[in-house]
Protein backbone atom coordinates (compact mmCIF):
# COMPACT_ATOMS: atom_id res chain seq x y z
CA UNK A 1 0.00 0.00 0.00
CA UNK A 2 1.26 3.44 -0.93
CA UNK A 3 1.30 6.03 1.83
CA UNK A 4 -1.35 8.74 1.98
CA UNK A 5 1.27 11.34 1.11
CA UNK A 6 2.37 9.38 -1.95
CA UNK A 7 -1.23 8.99 -3.11
CA UNK A 8 -1.84 12.71 -2.69
CA UNK A 9 1.34 13.39 -4.62
CA UNK A 10 0.17 11.19 -7.47
CA UNK A 11 -3.25 12.87 -7.36
CA UNK A 12 -1.53 16.26 -7.68
CA UNK A 13 0.48 15.02 -10.66
CA UNK A 14 -2.65 13.76 -12.43
CA UNK A 15 -4.56 16.94 -11.65
CA UNK A 16 -1.74 18.98 -13.12
CA UNK A 17 -2.09 16.97 -16.33
CA UNK A 18 -5.79 17.81 -16.36
CA UNK A 19 -5.12 21.47 -15.63
CA UNK A 20 -2.64 21.56 -18.50
CA UNK A 21 -5.43 20.20 -20.73
CA UNK A 22 -7.61 23.18 -19.77
CA UNK A 23 -9.40 21.91 -16.67
CA UNK A 24 -10.23 24.63 -14.16
CA UNK A 25 -9.62 23.25 -10.65
CA UNK A 26 -12.75 23.11 -8.50
CA UNK A 27 -13.61 21.95 -4.98
CA UNK A 28 -16.86 20.48 -3.66
CA UNK A 29 -18.28 19.77 -0.21
CA UNK A 30 -17.67 16.36 1.32
CA UNK A 31 -21.18 16.36 2.77
CA UNK A 32 -23.82 16.31 0.05
CA UNK A 33 -27.59 16.65 0.56
CA UNK A 34 -28.97 13.13 0.51
CA UNK A 35 -32.25 13.92 -1.23
CA UNK A 36 -30.61 14.98 -4.52
CA UNK A 37 -28.56 11.80 -4.68
CA UNK A 38 -31.49 9.62 -3.64
CA UNK A 39 -33.70 11.21 -6.24
CA UNK A 40 -31.12 10.54 -8.96
CA UNK A 41 -29.96 7.07 -8.05
CA UNK A 42 -32.77 5.65 -5.98
CA UNK A 43 -32.50 3.43 -2.98
CA UNK A 44 -29.41 1.64 -4.35
CA UNK A 45 -27.29 4.65 -3.45
CA UNK A 46 -27.85 3.89 0.23
CA UNK A 47 -26.06 0.59 -0.26
CA UNK A 48 -23.09 2.45 -1.72
CA UNK A 49 -22.88 5.71 0.18
CA UNK A 50 -22.53 6.56 3.86
CA UNK A 51 -25.50 8.44 5.22
CA UNK A 52 -25.34 10.72 8.23
CA UNK A 53 -27.71 13.34 9.55
CA UNK A 54 -28.31 16.22 11.88
CA UNK A 55 -31.53 17.66 13.24
CA UNK A 56 -31.23 20.83 11.16
CA UNK A 57 -30.22 19.78 7.65
CA UNK A 58 -31.56 16.24 7.76
CA UNK A 59 -29.83 13.46 5.87
CA UNK A 60 -26.46 14.09 4.30
CA UNK A 61 -24.23 11.74 2.35
CA UNK A 62 -20.48 11.52 2.37
CA UNK A 63 -19.63 12.37 -1.24
CA UNK A 64 -19.81 9.09 -3.21
CA UNK A 65 -18.55 10.87 -6.34
CA UNK A 66 -17.77 14.36 -7.62
CA UNK A 67 -19.93 14.31 -10.71
CA UNK A 68 -23.18 15.47 -9.16
CA UNK A 69 -21.78 18.48 -7.23
CA UNK A 70 -19.61 19.51 -10.19
CA UNK A 71 -22.61 19.38 -12.55
CA UNK A 72 -24.69 21.39 -10.07
CA UNK A 73 -21.95 23.99 -9.75
CA UNK A 74 -21.62 24.29 -13.50
CA UNK A 75 -25.35 24.54 -14.09
CA UNK A 76 -25.71 27.20 -11.41
CA UNK A 77 -23.15 29.61 -12.81
CA UNK A 78 -20.81 28.07 -15.34
CA UNK A 79 -20.01 29.59 -18.70
CA UNK A 80 -19.90 27.36 -21.76
CA UNK A 81 -17.92 25.55 -22.88
CA UNK A 82 -16.22 24.55 -19.63
CA UNK A 83 -13.58 22.10 -18.47
CA UNK A 84 -13.11 21.23 -14.81
CA UNK A 85 -10.69 19.13 -12.80
CA UNK A 86 -10.80 18.09 -9.16
CA UNK A 87 -9.21 15.71 -6.72
CA UNK A 88 -10.21 14.48 -3.30
CA UNK A 89 -11.61 11.65 -1.26
CA UNK A 90 -14.81 9.77 -2.08
CA UNK A 91 -16.55 7.35 0.26
CA UNK A 92 -18.23 4.07 -0.63
CA UNK A 93 -19.83 1.57 1.68
CA UNK A 94 -18.35 -1.90 1.19
CA UNK A 95 -20.43 -4.49 2.97
CA UNK A 96 -19.71 -7.48 0.79
CA UNK A 97 -16.01 -7.26 0.12
CA UNK A 98 -13.54 -6.29 2.82
CA UNK A 99 -10.70 -5.92 0.29
CA UNK A 100 -12.37 -2.95 -1.38
CA UNK A 101 -11.51 0.47 -0.01
CA UNK A 102 -14.36 2.48 1.49
CA UNK A 103 -12.46 5.76 1.20
CA UNK A 104 -10.13 6.62 -1.66
CA UNK A 105 -8.87 9.48 -3.77
CA UNK A 106 -10.29 10.34 -7.16
CA UNK A 107 -8.92 12.74 -9.73
CA UNK A 108 -11.40 13.80 -12.38
CA UNK A 109 -11.85 15.76 -15.56
CA UNK A 110 -15.24 16.88 -16.92
CA UNK A 111 -16.07 18.62 -20.20
CA UNK A 112 -19.30 20.59 -20.77
CA UNK A 113 -19.47 21.39 -24.46
CA UNK A 114 -22.46 21.23 -26.80
CA UNK A 115 -20.64 21.94 -30.04
CA UNK A 116 -18.80 18.70 -30.73
CA UNK A 117 -19.85 15.69 -28.62
CA UNK A 118 -17.71 13.18 -30.55
CA UNK A 119 -14.71 15.47 -30.19
CA UNK A 120 -15.32 15.91 -26.45
CA UNK A 121 -15.66 12.12 -25.97
CA UNK A 122 -12.36 11.62 -27.77
CA UNK A 123 -10.67 14.45 -25.85
CA UNK A 124 -11.51 12.89 -22.48
CA UNK A 125 -10.60 9.36 -23.51
CA UNK A 126 -7.31 10.41 -25.11
CA UNK A 127 -6.38 12.47 -22.06
CA UNK A 128 -6.99 9.51 -19.75
CA UNK A 129 -5.16 7.18 -22.13
CA UNK A 130 -2.12 9.44 -21.98
CA UNK A 131 -2.30 9.89 -18.21
CA UNK A 132 -2.30 6.10 -17.72
CA UNK A 133 0.33 5.38 -20.37
CA UNK A 134 2.89 2.77 -19.37
CA UNK A 135 0.67 0.95 -16.87
CA UNK A 136 -0.24 -1.77 -19.33
CA UNK A 137 -3.99 -1.35 -18.91
CA UNK A 138 -6.77 -2.67 -21.10
CA UNK A 139 -9.26 -0.07 -22.23
CA UNK A 140 -12.91 -1.12 -22.47
CA UNK A 141 -15.38 1.07 -24.34
CA UNK A 142 -19.08 1.00 -25.10
CA UNK A 143 -21.99 3.24 -25.97
CA UNK A 144 -25.27 3.05 -24.05
CA UNK A 145 -26.81 5.44 -26.60
CA UNK A 146 -26.99 2.69 -29.22
CA UNK A 147 -29.16 0.41 -27.09
CA UNK A 148 -31.31 3.38 -26.04
CA UNK A 149 -31.86 4.30 -29.70
CA UNK A 150 -32.72 0.69 -30.52
CA UNK A 151 -35.36 0.56 -27.78
CA UNK A 152 -36.83 3.87 -28.94
CA UNK A 153 -37.06 2.46 -32.46
CA UNK A 154 -38.89 -0.77 -31.65
CA UNK A 155 -42.20 -1.20 -33.47
CA UNK A 156 -44.28 -1.50 -30.33
CA UNK A 157 -46.36 0.60 -27.97
CA UNK A 158 -44.88 3.65 -26.29
CA UNK A 159 -45.67 2.05 -22.95
CA UNK A 160 -43.45 -0.93 -23.75
CA UNK A 161 -40.67 1.27 -25.06
CA UNK A 162 -40.76 3.28 -21.84
CA UNK A 163 -40.70 0.13 -19.69
CA UNK A 164 -37.64 -1.17 -21.55
CA UNK A 165 -35.87 2.21 -21.51
CA UNK A 166 -36.39 2.43 -17.76
CA UNK A 167 -34.61 -0.91 -17.26
CA UNK A 168 -31.70 -0.52 -19.67
CA UNK A 169 -29.37 -0.50 -16.64
CA UNK A 170 -30.94 -3.65 -15.12
CA UNK A 171 -30.12 -6.39 -17.63
CA UNK A 172 -32.11 -9.12 -15.85
CA UNK A 173 -35.37 -7.21 -15.78
CA UNK A 174 -34.73 -5.88 -19.29
CA UNK A 175 -34.43 -9.45 -20.55
CA UNK A 176 -37.59 -10.53 -18.68
CA UNK A 177 -39.52 -7.64 -20.24
CA UNK A 178 -38.27 -8.49 -23.74
CA UNK A 179 -39.43 -12.07 -23.24
CA UNK A 180 -42.80 -10.96 -21.95
CA UNK A 181 -43.41 -8.42 -24.71
CA UNK A 182 -42.45 -10.89 -27.41
CA UNK A 183 -44.73 -13.58 -25.99
CA UNK A 184 -41.89 -15.93 -25.14
CA UNK A 185 -43.00 -16.18 -21.53
CA UNK A 186 -46.57 -16.65 -20.40
CA UNK A 187 -48.50 -13.84 -18.82
CA UNK A 188 -48.54 -14.59 -15.05
CA UNK A 189 -51.69 -16.34 -13.89
CA UNK A 190 -52.65 -13.47 -11.59
CA UNK A 191 -52.50 -11.05 -14.53
CA UNK A 192 -54.59 -13.35 -16.74
CA UNK A 193 -57.20 -13.60 -14.00
CA UNK A 194 -57.30 -9.84 -13.58
CA UNK A 195 -57.75 -9.27 -17.30
CA UNK A 196 -60.42 -11.94 -17.62
CA UNK A 197 -62.37 -10.53 -14.72
CA UNK A 198 -65.35 -8.25 -15.41
CA UNK A 199 -65.17 -6.46 -12.09
CA UNK A 200 -61.68 -6.43 -10.64
CA UNK A 201 -63.01 -4.57 -7.62
CA UNK A 202 -65.31 -7.36 -6.42
CA UNK A 203 -64.06 -8.55 -3.00
CA UNK A 204 -61.18 -6.09 -3.07
CA UNK A 205 -61.73 -5.00 0.53
CA UNK A 206 -61.08 -1.64 2.11
CA UNK A 207 -59.39 1.09 0.14
CA UNK A 208 -56.28 2.10 2.08
CA UNK A 209 -53.13 4.07 1.36
CA UNK A 210 -52.11 6.92 -0.88
CA UNK A 211 -52.32 5.05 -4.18
CA UNK A 212 -55.82 5.86 -5.33
CA UNK A 213 -58.48 3.76 -7.00
CA UNK A 214 -58.11 5.99 -10.07
CA UNK A 215 -54.42 5.17 -10.29
CA UNK A 216 -55.16 1.46 -10.03
CA UNK A 217 -57.90 1.70 -12.66
CA UNK A 218 -55.51 3.52 -14.91
CA UNK A 219 -52.96 0.76 -14.63
CA UNK A 220 -55.58 -1.91 -15.29
CA UNK A 221 -56.66 -0.01 -18.41
CA UNK A 222 -53.00 0.06 -19.44
CA UNK A 223 -52.69 -3.68 -18.88
CA UNK A 224 -55.82 -4.34 -20.95
CA UNK A 225 -54.44 -2.20 -23.74
CA UNK A 226 -51.12 -4.00 -23.49
CA UNK A 227 -52.84 -7.39 -23.72
CA UNK A 228 -54.28 -6.28 -27.08
CA UNK A 229 -50.92 -5.13 -28.44
CA UNK A 230 -49.21 -7.36 -30.96
CA UNK A 231 -46.16 -9.17 -29.59
CA UNK A 232 -42.78 -7.72 -30.33
CA UNK A 233 -41.57 -9.51 -33.44
CA UNK A 234 -38.87 -12.14 -33.04
CA UNK A 235 -36.96 -10.28 -35.70
CA UNK A 236 -36.75 -7.21 -33.47
CA UNK A 237 -35.87 -9.34 -30.43
CA UNK A 238 -32.97 -10.84 -32.33
CA UNK A 239 -31.84 -7.39 -33.48
CA UNK A 240 -31.65 -6.23 -29.84
CA UNK A 241 -29.76 -9.43 -28.98
CA UNK A 242 -27.44 -8.83 -31.91
CA UNK A 243 -26.65 -5.32 -30.61
CA UNK A 244 -25.99 -6.62 -27.09
CA UNK A 245 -23.64 -9.24 -28.50
CA UNK A 246 -21.49 -6.76 -30.42
CA UNK A 247 -18.10 -7.16 -28.82
CA UNK A 248 -15.03 -6.66 -30.97
CA UNK A 249 -12.25 -4.26 -31.89
CA UNK A 250 -13.72 -0.88 -32.79
CA UNK A 251 -13.64 -1.13 -36.64
CA UNK A 252 -15.24 -4.59 -36.59
CA UNK A 253 -17.83 -3.50 -34.02
CA UNK A 254 -18.72 -0.50 -36.18
CA UNK A 255 -19.13 -2.76 -39.18
CA UNK A 256 -21.47 -5.07 -37.21
CA UNK A 257 -23.57 -2.20 -35.98
CA UNK A 258 -23.89 -0.76 -39.49
CA UNK A 259 -25.15 -4.15 -40.67
CA UNK A 260 -27.69 -4.23 -37.86
CA UNK A 261 -28.79 -0.67 -38.63
CA UNK A 262 -29.83 -1.79 -42.12
CA UNK A 263 -32.71 -3.61 -40.40
CA UNK A 264 -33.08 -1.16 -37.50
CA UNK A 265 -32.80 2.32 -39.02
CA UNK A 266 -33.54 3.95 -35.66
CA UNK A 267 -30.00 3.32 -34.49
CA UNK A 268 -28.36 4.99 -37.51
CA UNK A 269 -27.79 8.38 -35.84
CA UNK A 270 -26.28 6.66 -32.77
CA UNK A 271 -24.04 4.49 -34.95
CA UNK A 272 -23.00 7.61 -36.91
CA UNK A 273 -21.96 9.22 -33.60
CA UNK A 274 -19.94 6.12 -32.78
CA UNK A 275 -18.21 6.42 -36.17
CA UNK A 276 -17.48 10.13 -35.66
CA UNK A 277 -16.04 9.32 -32.23
CA UNK A 278 -13.81 6.62 -33.71
CA UNK A 279 -12.51 9.14 -36.22
CA UNK A 280 -11.98 11.75 -33.50
CA UNK A 281 -10.09 9.17 -31.42
CA UNK A 282 -7.95 8.31 -34.43
CA UNK A 283 -7.21 12.02 -34.93
CA UNK A 284 -5.97 12.16 -31.36
CA UNK A 285 -3.56 9.31 -31.94
CA UNK A 286 -5.53 6.46 -30.32
CA UNK A 287 -4.96 3.10 -32.00
CA UNK A 288 -8.61 2.50 -32.85
CA UNK A 289 -7.80 -0.78 -34.61
CA UNK A 290 -6.80 -2.23 -31.22
CA UNK A 291 -9.52 -0.58 -29.12
CA UNK A 292 -12.14 -2.93 -27.63
CA UNK A 293 -15.81 -2.04 -27.95
CA UNK A 294 -18.78 -3.85 -26.40
CA UNK A 295 -22.32 -2.54 -26.87
CA UNK A 296 -23.38 -3.95 -23.49
CA UNK A 297 -20.45 -2.41 -21.58
CA UNK A 298 -21.48 -0.09 -18.76
CA UNK A 299 -25.04 -1.37 -18.42
CA UNK A 300 -24.67 -2.52 -14.84
CA UNK A 301 -23.23 0.75 -13.55
CA UNK A 302 -25.47 3.27 -11.88
CA UNK A 303 -28.01 4.74 -14.26
CA UNK A 304 -26.13 7.81 -15.23
CA UNK A 305 -24.09 7.21 -18.33
CA UNK A 306 -26.22 7.38 -21.45
CA UNK A 307 -23.70 7.55 -24.30
CA UNK A 308 -20.00 6.79 -24.62
CA UNK A 309 -18.61 4.77 -21.68
CA UNK A 310 -15.07 3.66 -20.91
CA UNK A 311 -12.96 1.97 -18.27
CA UNK A 312 -9.28 1.11 -17.85
CA UNK A 313 -8.49 -2.28 -16.27
CA UNK A 314 -5.31 -3.94 -15.01
CA UNK A 315 -5.52 -7.30 -16.79
CA UNK A 316 -2.96 -8.91 -14.49
CA UNK A 317 -4.95 -7.92 -11.41
CA UNK A 318 -8.45 -9.23 -12.00
CA UNK A 319 -9.47 -8.46 -8.41
CA UNK A 320 -8.59 -4.77 -8.78
CA UNK A 321 -11.40 -2.30 -9.43
CA UNK A 322 -11.05 -0.30 -12.66
CA UNK A 323 -8.17 2.20 -12.46
CA UNK A 324 -10.25 4.76 -14.35
CA UNK A 325 -13.84 5.04 -15.55
CA UNK A 326 -15.90 7.61 -17.33
CA UNK A 327 -18.50 8.43 -19.90
CA UNK A 328 -21.15 10.75 -21.21
CA UNK A 329 -24.04 11.75 -18.95
CA UNK A 330 -26.29 14.18 -20.80
CA UNK A 331 -29.43 12.86 -19.06
CA UNK A 332 -27.96 13.57 -15.62
CA UNK A 333 -27.52 17.23 -16.53
CA UNK A 334 -31.12 17.27 -17.76
CA UNK A 335 -32.39 15.94 -14.42
CA UNK A 336 -30.20 18.21 -12.30
CA UNK A 337 -30.86 21.22 -14.51
CA UNK A 338 -34.65 20.93 -14.34
CA UNK A 339 -34.90 20.29 -18.05
CA UNK A 340 -32.00 22.51 -19.07
CA UNK A 341 -29.49 20.14 -20.63
CA UNK A 342 -25.80 20.57 -21.25
CA UNK A 343 -24.04 17.68 -22.94
CA UNK A 344 -21.30 16.47 -20.61
CA UNK A 345 -18.58 13.85 -20.59
CA UNK A 346 -15.90 13.09 -18.04
CA UNK A 347 -14.14 10.52 -15.94
CA UNK A 348 -12.09 9.76 -12.86
CA UNK A 349 -8.76 8.08 -12.10
CA UNK A 350 -7.80 6.42 -8.82
CA UNK A 351 -4.26 7.56 -7.96
CA UNK A 352 -3.85 4.83 -5.31
CA UNK A 353 -4.28 2.14 -7.97
CA UNK A 354 -1.95 3.96 -10.36
CA UNK A 355 0.76 3.83 -7.67
CA UNK A 356 0.01 0.22 -6.83
CA UNK A 357 0.58 -0.72 -10.47
CA UNK A 358 4.03 0.81 -10.44
CA UNK A 359 4.26 4.56 -10.24
CA UNK A 360 2.83 6.95 -12.79
CA UNK A 361 4.48 7.24 -16.17
Amino acid sequence: MATRAAIKGEAARLRQLFENAGGVPVETDVLQPADTLLDLYGEDIRARAYVTSDALRGEQMLRPDFTVPVVQMHMADGAEPARYTYSGAVFRRQEDDTRRANEYQQVGYEVFDRTDPAGADAEVFALFHKALDGLNLRAATGDIGILMAAVAGLKTTQRRQAALARHIWRPTRFRALMERFSGQTDVPESRQKLLACDDPWANSGAMIGLRSRAEIDQRIAGLREDAQAAPLSMEEVSLIDAILQVRAKTPKALEHLKEISADLPAIRPAVARFEQRAEALDDRGIDVEALDFAASYGRTHMEYYDGFVFGFYAENHPEMPPVATGGRYDALTRMLGDGAEIPAVGGVIRPDLVLELGAGA
Binding site: G42, R166, S190, R191, I208, R211, R213
Partner: protein
Protein backbone atom coordinates in the same frame (compact mmCIF):
# COMPACT_ATOMS: atom_id res chain seq x y z
CA UNK B 1 -12.88 -18.22 31.88
CA UNK B 2 -16.14 -19.69 30.64
CA UNK B 3 -18.17 -20.15 27.50
CA UNK B 4 -20.72 -17.36 27.17
CA UNK B 5 -24.12 -18.32 25.76
CA UNK B 6 -26.40 -15.45 24.66
CA UNK B 7 -30.15 -16.11 24.78
CA UNK B 8 -33.08 -13.76 24.12
CA UNK B 9 -34.04 -12.16 27.41
CA UNK B 10 -37.80 -12.43 27.28
CA UNK B 11 -40.95 -13.93 25.88
CA UNK B 12 -41.65 -17.10 23.98
CA UNK B 13 -38.27 -17.05 22.29
CA UNK B 14 -36.56 -17.32 25.70
CA UNK B 15 -38.92 -19.99 27.00
CA UNK B 16 -38.62 -22.10 23.84
CA UNK B 17 -34.84 -21.77 23.93
CA UNK B 18 -34.81 -22.93 27.55
CA UNK B 19 -37.02 -25.89 26.54
CA UNK B 20 -34.73 -26.80 23.64
CA UNK B 21 -31.64 -26.89 25.89
CA UNK B 22 -33.56 -28.70 28.68
CA UNK B 23 -34.54 -31.48 26.28
CA UNK B 24 -30.80 -32.01 25.77
CA UNK B 25 -29.94 -32.07 29.43
CA UNK B 26 -28.82 -28.49 29.84
CA UNK B 27 -30.97 -26.50 32.25
CA UNK B 28 -31.01 -22.76 31.68
CA UNK B 29 -32.76 -20.39 34.02
CA UNK B 30 -32.85 -16.95 35.48
CA UNK B 31 -30.71 -16.63 38.56
CA UNK B 32 -33.27 -14.84 40.67
CA UNK B 33 -36.56 -13.14 39.96
CA UNK B 34 -38.21 -12.65 36.57
CA UNK B 35 -36.71 -9.19 36.41
CA UNK B 36 -33.17 -10.42 36.93
CA UNK B 37 -31.18 -10.68 33.71
CA UNK B 38 -28.46 -12.85 35.25
CA UNK B 39 -28.79 -16.49 34.30
CA UNK B 40 -27.83 -19.89 35.57
CA UNK B 41 -26.70 -23.02 33.74
CA UNK B 42 -26.92 -26.58 35.07
CA UNK B 43 -25.78 -29.75 33.37
CA UNK B 44 -22.48 -28.46 31.96
CA UNK B 45 -19.74 -26.72 33.93
CA UNK B 46 -18.16 -23.40 32.98
CA UNK B 47 -20.98 -22.18 30.74
CA UNK B 48 -22.35 -18.75 31.50
CA UNK B 49 -25.83 -17.66 30.40
CA UNK B 50 -26.15 -14.06 29.19
CA UNK B 51 -29.69 -12.78 28.65
CA UNK B 52 -29.83 -10.20 25.88
CA UNK B 53 -32.26 -8.60 23.47
CA UNK B 54 -32.49 -10.89 20.39
CA UNK B 55 -31.59 -7.89 18.25
CA UNK B 56 -28.28 -7.39 20.05
CA UNK B 57 -27.13 -10.99 19.83
CA UNK B 58 -25.76 -10.68 16.24
CA UNK B 59 -23.57 -7.74 17.25
CA UNK B 60 -22.29 -9.50 20.38
CA UNK B 61 -21.42 -12.63 18.37
CA UNK B 62 -19.62 -10.56 15.73
CA UNK B 63 -17.63 -8.74 18.40
CA UNK B 64 -16.72 -12.03 20.07
CA UNK B 65 -18.17 -10.97 23.42
CA UNK B 66 -20.28 -14.14 23.49
CA UNK B 67 -19.24 -17.55 22.13
CA UNK B 68 -22.69 -18.89 21.33
CA UNK B 69 -25.99 -17.13 20.72
CA UNK B 70 -29.59 -17.91 19.85
CA UNK B 71 -31.30 -15.49 17.49
CA UNK B 72 -33.22 -15.37 14.22
CA UNK B 73 -31.51 -15.90 10.85
CA UNK B 74 -33.24 -12.69 9.73
CA UNK B 75 -31.41 -10.61 12.34
CA UNK B 76 -28.04 -12.19 11.58
CA UNK B 77 -28.37 -11.52 7.86
CA UNK B 78 -29.71 -8.01 8.30
CA UNK B 79 -27.14 -6.87 10.83
CA UNK B 80 -23.93 -8.64 9.81
CA UNK B 81 -22.19 -8.02 6.49
CA UNK B 82 -20.55 -11.22 5.19
CA UNK B 83 -22.28 -13.01 8.06
CA UNK B 84 -20.89 -16.43 7.11
CA UNK B 85 -17.40 -15.11 7.84
CA UNK B 86 -18.39 -13.93 11.30
CA UNK B 87 -20.59 -16.71 12.67
CA UNK B 88 -21.31 -20.41 12.03
CA UNK B 89 -24.85 -21.68 12.24
CA UNK B 90 -24.79 -24.80 14.40
CA UNK B 91 -28.45 -25.78 14.60
CA UNK B 92 -31.90 -24.63 13.56
CA UNK B 93 -33.99 -24.87 16.69
CA UNK B 94 -37.37 -25.51 15.06
CA UNK B 95 -39.26 -22.54 16.49
CA UNK B 96 -39.49 -18.79 16.02
CA UNK B 97 -40.47 -19.36 12.38
CA UNK B 98 -41.00 -16.12 10.53
CA UNK B 99 -40.89 -15.10 6.89
CA UNK B 100 -39.60 -11.75 5.72
CA UNK B 101 -42.03 -10.77 2.98
CA UNK B 102 -43.20 -7.85 0.88
CA UNK B 103 -46.85 -6.94 1.27
CA UNK B 104 -49.07 -4.38 -0.44
CA UNK B 105 -52.65 -3.20 0.19
CA UNK B 106 -55.18 -5.92 -0.71
CA UNK B 107 -57.05 -3.26 -2.68
CA UNK B 108 -54.17 -3.08 -5.16
CA UNK B 109 -56.02 -5.54 -7.38
CA UNK B 110 -53.49 -4.97 -10.16
CA UNK B 111 -50.43 -5.93 -8.10
CA UNK B 112 -49.56 -9.57 -7.36
CA UNK B 113 -45.91 -9.91 -8.37
CA UNK B 114 -42.66 -7.95 -8.12
CA UNK B 115 -43.08 -7.14 -11.79
CA UNK B 116 -46.39 -5.46 -10.95
CA UNK B 117 -44.84 -3.68 -7.98
CA UNK B 118 -42.10 -2.27 -10.21
CA UNK B 119 -44.60 -0.99 -12.77
CA UNK B 120 -46.84 0.45 -10.05
CA UNK B 121 -43.80 2.19 -8.52
CA UNK B 122 -42.94 3.85 -11.82
CA UNK B 123 -46.49 5.15 -12.24
CA UNK B 124 -46.70 6.19 -8.59
CA UNK B 125 -43.55 8.29 -8.91
CA UNK B 126 -44.93 10.05 -11.98
CA UNK B 127 -48.25 10.72 -10.26
CA UNK B 128 -46.98 11.79 -6.84
CA UNK B 129 -43.52 13.18 -7.53
CA UNK B 130 -41.73 10.90 -5.09
CA UNK B 131 -40.70 7.27 -5.00
CA UNK B 132 -43.08 4.63 -3.68
CA UNK B 133 -42.32 4.12 0.01
CA UNK B 134 -41.72 0.69 1.52
CA UNK B 135 -41.71 0.64 5.34
CA UNK B 136 -39.31 -1.79 6.99
CA UNK B 137 -36.71 -2.35 9.64
CA UNK B 138 -34.89 -4.82 7.39
CA UNK B 139 -33.17 -2.31 5.15
CA UNK B 140 -30.27 -4.35 3.88
CA UNK B 141 -32.20 -7.53 3.14
CA UNK B 142 -35.03 -5.66 1.43
CA UNK B 143 -32.75 -3.49 -0.67
CA UNK B 144 -30.64 -6.45 -1.82
CA UNK B 145 -33.73 -8.45 -2.67
CA UNK B 146 -35.31 -5.65 -4.68
CA UNK B 147 -32.07 -4.89 -6.48
CA UNK B 148 -31.67 -8.52 -7.51
CA UNK B 149 -35.29 -8.56 -8.63
CA UNK B 150 -34.80 -5.39 -10.68
CA UNK B 151 -37.40 -3.29 -8.90
CA UNK B 152 -36.81 0.48 -9.21
CA UNK B 153 -38.44 3.77 -8.20
CA UNK B 154 -39.00 2.84 -4.58
CA UNK B 155 -37.55 4.14 -1.33
CA UNK B 156 -37.27 2.50 2.05
CA UNK B 157 -38.65 4.29 5.08
CA UNK B 158 -37.65 3.15 8.52
CA UNK B 159 -40.28 1.54 10.70
CA UNK B 160 -39.25 -0.10 13.96
CA UNK B 161 -42.71 -1.32 14.92
CA UNK B 162 -46.38 -1.47 13.93
CA UNK B 163 -45.12 -1.53 10.36
CA UNK B 164 -48.41 -2.85 8.96
CA UNK B 165 -50.12 0.33 10.11
CA UNK B 166 -47.91 2.66 8.05
CA UNK B 167 -49.99 2.21 4.91
CA UNK B 168 -53.26 3.22 6.51
CA UNK B 169 -51.43 6.20 8.03
CA UNK B 170 -50.13 7.07 4.56
CA UNK B 171 -46.51 7.13 5.62
CA UNK B 172 -45.76 4.19 3.29
CA UNK B 173 -47.36 2.44 0.31
CA UNK B 174 -46.00 -1.08 0.95
CA UNK B 175 -44.21 -2.95 3.72
CA UNK B 176 -41.36 -5.41 4.06
CA UNK B 177 -41.85 -7.19 7.35
CA UNK B 178 -41.76 -10.42 9.30
CA UNK B 179 -44.89 -12.52 9.35
CA UNK B 180 -45.53 -15.90 10.89
CA UNK B 181 -49.15 -16.59 10.02
CA UNK B 182 -50.23 -13.69 7.85
CA UNK B 183 -53.05 -12.86 10.28
CA UNK B 184 -51.73 -9.38 11.07
CA UNK B 185 -51.35 -8.63 7.39
CA UNK B 186 -54.89 -9.73 6.68
CA UNK B 187 -56.25 -7.70 9.59
CA UNK B 188 -54.50 -4.63 8.19
CA UNK B 189 -55.97 -5.13 4.68
CA UNK B 190 -52.65 -6.22 3.20
CA UNK B 191 -51.67 -9.12 0.93
CA UNK B 192 -48.44 -10.91 0.12
CA UNK B 193 -46.79 -10.65 -3.26
CA UNK B 194 -46.56 -14.10 -4.87
CA UNK B 195 -42.81 -13.82 -5.39
CA UNK B 196 -42.21 -11.47 -2.46
CA UNK B 197 -40.61 -13.93 -0.02
CA UNK B 198 -37.25 -12.41 0.96
CA UNK B 199 -36.13 -14.88 3.61
CA UNK B 200 -37.43 -17.75 5.73
CA UNK B 201 -36.17 -17.33 9.25
CA UNK B 202 -36.20 -19.34 12.47
CA UNK B 203 -34.43 -19.33 15.81
CA UNK B 204 -30.92 -20.67 15.27
CA UNK B 205 -27.91 -21.41 17.47
CA UNK B 206 -24.89 -19.51 16.16
CA UNK B 207 -21.22 -19.73 17.12
CA UNK B 208 -18.95 -16.68 16.98
CA UNK B 209 -15.84 -17.12 14.84
CA UNK B 210 -14.10 -14.38 16.74
CA UNK B 211 -14.63 -15.09 20.45
CA UNK B 212 -11.39 -16.05 22.18
CA UNK B 213 -11.16 -19.39 23.96
CA UNK B 214 -8.66 -20.81 26.42
CA UNK B 215 -7.74 -24.51 26.43
CA UNK B 216 -10.35 -25.02 29.11
CA UNK B 217 -12.98 -23.14 27.07
CA UNK B 218 -12.30 -25.40 24.08
CA UNK B 219 -12.88 -28.43 26.26
CA UNK B 220 -16.07 -26.85 27.63
CA UNK B 221 -17.30 -26.04 24.12
CA UNK B 222 -16.64 -29.63 22.99
CA UNK B 223 -18.50 -31.04 26.00
CA UNK B 224 -21.44 -28.69 25.51
CA UNK B 225 -21.77 -29.41 21.81
CA UNK B 226 -21.59 -33.17 22.45
CA UNK B 227 -24.29 -32.79 25.09
CA UNK B 228 -26.42 -30.94 22.52
CA UNK B 229 -25.74 -33.65 19.91
CA UNK B 230 -23.90 -31.12 17.77
CA UNK B 231 -20.36 -32.34 18.44
Amino acid sequence: MSIKLGVPSKGRLMEKTFDWFAQRGVTLGRAGSDRDYAGSVKGVDNVELILLSAGEIPRELAAGRIHLGVTGTDLIREKLGLWARQVDDLAELGFGHADLIIAVPACWVDVDTLDDLDAAAAAFRRAHGFRLRIATKYHRLTREFLRESGVADYQLVDSQGATEGTIKNETAEAVSDITSSGATLFANHLKLLQDGLILKSQATLFRSQKAEMSEQDRATMATLLTQLNLG
